[in-house]
Symmetry: C2
Subunit: 219 residues, 2 copies
C-alpha cells in the first residue's frame, strides 16, 4: 500500500469515525454516568481507557497552580476523547452536564478490533485533536475578543447544524475556552446581538440572524 493510499484512507476514515467507532465499540466496555462537574479522569493520570460520549457534553481542562484554567475542547455525542498516544492524560476531563459515557479498555478494544482498525481509530482521534488544537492556537494567539466569540458561535452552529443552537456550557466555560473573562464574553455577546448578527432567546440558546456577517467577524 502506498502512502498516498494510506493517507486517503485515513482521510476517508475521519468522516466515518463515528460509524466506525460505534461499530467496533458497540457492546464493549462499560457505560458510566457522571454528574455535572464530576471528573472523568485527571491530568497526568495513566490513560489506558478510551471514552466516547453517549449523551451529554464533556470538557477537557488544564489548570495552572494559581487556578487559571484553559479548556482544551468540548466533546459531544458520539465523539471520542481521552485517547492519549503517550499513555498519559495531558488534560483532565469533566462532565459539563450530567453525562453518560462509554468507557472501553484500550487493550480490550485493541484485541477485538485488531491492529489495523485500532490504529486507524486512535489515529483519527489524535488527528482531530491536532486539527482542533491548531485552529485553537490561531484563535488564542491572534484573534480579538469579538473574533473569538464569533468563531466560537460559528463553530458550535456548524457542529450542531440546527436552526436554534443550544449552548451546553455556561459563560465561564466559554471564557476559559476562549482565553477571556466571563465579562468580556458577555459584552461581546451583547455586541453581536446589537449588531443583529445573532439573537439570544435565552442565555443558553441562540440563533444566527446574519451568517455571512458572523463569518466575517470570525475572520
Amino acid at each position: 500500500m502506498t502512502q498516498t493510499q494510506s493517507l486517503d484512507e485515513a482521510t476517508r476514515l475521519r468522516g466515518e469515525t463515528k460509524a466506525a467507532s460505534s461499530d467496533i465499540m458497540m457492546g464493549m466496555g462499560v457505560r458510566m454516568s457522571f454528574a455535572k462537574d464530576e471528573e472523568i479522569y485527571g491530568q497526568d493520570e495513566d490513560a489506558d481507557l478510551i471514552y466516547r460520549v453517549i449523551s451529554g457534553v464533556v470538557r477537557t481542562t488544564r489548570i495552572m497552580s494559581d487556578g487559571r484554567r484553559q479548556i482544551g475542547g468540548f466533546y459531544y455525542s458520539d465523539e471520542m476523547f481521552g485517547v492519549e498516544p503517550d499513555g498519559r492524560h495531558r488534560f483532565s476531563a469533566e462532565a459539563l452536564c450530567d453525562c453518560s459515557i462509554l468507557v472501553v479498555k484500550a487493550s480490550a478494544l485493541h484485541a477485538v478490533a485488531g491492529d489495523g482498525a485500532f490504529g486507524r481509530l486512535t489515529w483519527a482521534a489524535t488527528n482531530r485533536e491536532l486539527d482542533r488544537a491548531q485552529d485553537h492556537l490561531l484563535l488564542l494567539g491572534r484573534k480579538t475578543a469579538a473574533e473569538r466569540v464569533a468563531s466560537f458561535l460559528l463553530d458550535l452552529s456548524t457542529r450542531r447544524a440546527t436552526e436554534a443552537v443550544t449552548l451546553p456550557m455556561g459563560r465561564q466555560d466559554m471564557a476559559d475556552y476562549l482565553g477571556l473573562t466571563i465579562e468580556t464574553v458577555s459584552r461581546m455577546l451583547t455586541q453581536l446581538q446589537s449588531a443583529m448578527v445573532v439573537e439570544f432567546a435565552s442565555t443558553r440558546s441562540f440563533r444566527i440572524c446574519n451568517r455571512s456577517a458572523l463569518v466575517r467577524m470570525a475572520q
Copy 2:
C-alpha cells in the same frame, strides 16, 4: 500485542525518534537548501513529502487575511516536520535562516520502512505536534506576556541544553509565536534582565542567571 505494550512502545520510540528516523531516512530522498525566509511548503498544499531539518531552523506559520500571523512551532536539527496525517498542510513552513532540509517522499519512506516502522514514525511525529500544541494553548490562552517570554526562553534553553543559548529567530518571530508584539517581547526581555534572571550578551544570545526564578516566572 496489547494496547499497553503498544503504548509503551510508542513512548519508547518517542525518545528514539531522531535515531530511528535517521536510520530509516538515511540516504533516502533529497537534500534541499532553502534561503532565509524561503517557503518550504505552503498552507493548504498537498502533503506527500516528509521533511527533516539537517541544519538551520524552520518555522511553521498560519496567516490571517489581514496579515496577522501565528507561528505554530520551530524545528531544529534532526527534527521532522510537515508530517500531515490528512495529506494537507495545516501551516506553511519557512526557513528561519539558511537551511538544509532532507526531503523524502512519504510513499517512498513507507515502501522502504514498511507499514510498522512508517506508522510509528508518523505517529511519534504527530504526537509530538499535539504535545507542543497543547502546551502552546495554555501559554496563549492563560499566560501573561512576562510568563510567555519566560516560558519561551526556558523551553529554548532546555531544548538546546547549552550554557549560552543562541536565539535563532528575531523578535518578530518570537512575538508571532507568543501571540504578542515585538515591543512587548522586547520590554519583557529587558524586565527579565533587570531582574537578573537572564542576561543578554547580544540580541541573539542569552544566558540564564537564575533558573529557578525563571521557572517560577514561567509558572
